[in-house]
């Protein structure tokens, strides 16, 4: 009976995660919080573990499906903002499908790394947690500085880092709902969409092919992804974005393809490790993990094993679903005038921002969009716009 419940929870979790992943602006935390509000009602029918399985499956599926709208529509959810630029590059060459395939291959690799390293991290993390915590401020500052040094236009990179950082600091203080949505949508999504519109971008016919990477490259980005993700999954306020900055320091310059795989690995690995943190250090480290831990109440290793198994199954289903949706997008996107699609998406993003985060949120969106446009016109890598999340976190840790 419990087995059947869990399988059902996995399937419905994947369906929910597919929905939140494909829709820009609907954050997975929102669904999880809704679930928590009704949890008393659900708990009279289902075991806590079943609900936790639902949440984990949803989070994992979300981390896969998230890449489809980011790459095809430049519409980010909060974890995939950095994939828009490399994804768009491949899209312009007719390789949108391959771009999704690369990212979610990364996601699946992340899932496998999660399963392999969880026992190790469970033992190691309680011991090294304290030292990471104390040195995190320095690690983050070093990560940012390395990123600057590698840039040709160092002054402007630093300037854009500070500008987006200032916006991030102010936005997180404002009393708005989902502050990250207008912030990241403006910096990474809307600015990109407006550039496509003003350049009258036309998409070529999309090919259904896959791009293969060298095994050595996979090994290299997997290890840097693992190091960065485990640094950022166990501390408050850190997540996939900070992990991406650290991992790209470790790797040095990457092309669009390897960068997409790296972002995939980090996206799923961080999502998974946020849950593992509940068991390793008794701290849930993401909105969805907080909800799962509130529902579960107790922590035992049997639960963790069930959750990991559920995550692995969800990852498999989400992989296939992502490819299906990517195929659908690839087939139709070049038939419709891309400027019209872009205008439509821009309209949806603006409406969602107004609806979710109100008037102040809309001002954040406008400001963020123009900072993003400034970075594009200066030819500065979008990574530096992550100052919006790096600066507040650095100030928190020092």
């Amino acid at each position: 009976m419990i087995f059947l419940q869990i399988i059902l929870a996995v399937i419905s979790g994947v369906v929910a995660g597919t929905f939140t992943g494909l829709m820009p602006g609907i954050h997975i935390n929102f669904v999880a919080m809704t679930l928590l509000i009704f949890s008393k009602y659900f708990l009279s029918y289902f075991q806590p573990l079943t609900l936790a399985v639902f949440i984990v499956s949803m989070a994992i599926a979300h981390s896969f499906l998230d890449f489809v709208p980011s790459i095809f529509l430049s519409a980010p959810n909060s974890e995939t903002a950095l994939s828009i630029m490399p994804g768009h590059k491949l899209l312009l060459k007719g390789n949108g499908y391959a771009a999704v395939r690369l990212s979610i291959t990364g996601c699946y690799i992340g899932m496998i790394i999660l399963i392999i390293t969880t026992p190790l991290l469970m033992i190691a993390m309680p011991f090294i947690y304290g030292s990471i915590k104390n040195s995190m401020g320095l690690i983050l500052i070093a990560a940012v500085l390395f990123l600057m040094i590698n840039e040709k236009k160092r002054f402007w990179a630093f300037f854009i880092f500070l500008l987006s950082g200032a916006l991030g600091l102010i936005t997180l203080e404002l009393p708005i709902k989902e502050p990250l949505f207008p912030l990241l949508t403006g910096l990474f999504g809307a600015s990109m969409i407006i550039t496509s519109i003003s350049e009258k971008t036309e998409l070529p016919e999309q090919k259904i092919t896959c791009i293969k990477l060298d095994k050595k490259e996979y090994a290299k980005i997997s290890s840097s992804g693992l190091i960065a993700s485990s640094l950022c999954s166990f501390l408050p306020g850190l997540g996939a974005s900070q992990a991406a900055v650290i991992a790209s320091d470790i790797n040095g310059r990457m092309n669009s393809r390897t960068f997409l795989v790296l972002l995939g690995i980090i996206s799923t690995l961080v999502t998974g490790l946020n849950f593992v943190a509940i068991y390793a250090i008794n701290k849930p480290r993401s909105g969805v993990a907080v909800v799962a831990s509130k529902i579960l109440e107790t922590t035992d290793n049997y639960h963790l094993a069930v959750l990991l198994a559920a995550a692995l199954i969800s990852a498999g289903i989400a992989f296939v679903l992502s490819l299906c949706f990517a195929k659908i997008f690839a087939r139709y996107i070049s038939r419709i005038n891309y400027t019209k699609i872009s205008l439509g998406i821009l309209g949806i993003l603006v409406a969602m921002t107004f609806f979710v985060s109100g008037i102040i949120g809309s001002i954040v969106l406008i400001t963020a969009t123009f900072i993003g446009l400034f970075a594009i016109s200066k030819g500065i890598r979008k990574m530096h716009l992550m100052g919006c999340l790096m600066l507040p976190v650095i100030l928190y840790f020092i």
Partner: protein, 110 residues
């Protein structure tokens, strides 16, 4: 041209938001919503101060929700001789010694 316009709008936006942030009240949430996900944010809570512990430099308040049984620790860095009772507390959410707590910036009693 585009560069200059984006730079100007960015600055105006940041200044407008900065001014707004000085005037808009931080969002008020219930104590059970204070968790890991909002660490670093400034928020307000309503609650009943049930105990005040005095230390050398700080005061630790134990605050209970008015709606349910959830509670939270509030740290006050300036000695203010706070009394027990219902209050509105505004401050930053922090993690200290593995506990979530609020670092008070303003406390209105009653």
């Amino acid at each position: 041209m585009m560069e200059r316009i984006s730079l100007i709008v960015s600055f105006i936006g940041i200044i407008v938001l900065l001014v707004l942030s000085q005037f808009v009240e931080p969002k008020t949430i219930s104590i059970k919503e204070v968790d890991e996900t909002i660490i670093g944010q400034t928020i307000s809570i309503y609650g009943n101060i049930t105990s005040v512990r005095n230390f050398e430099n700080i005061e630790l308040l134990s605050v209970e929700s008015l709606e349910d049984t959830s509670r939270i620790t509030v740290v006050v860095f300036e000695k203010a001789d706070i009394s027990e009772g219902i209050a509105k507390i505004t401050g930053k959410v922090k993690e200290y010694n593995n506990q979530i707590e609020i670092e008070a910036a303003e406390i209105k009693i009653g």
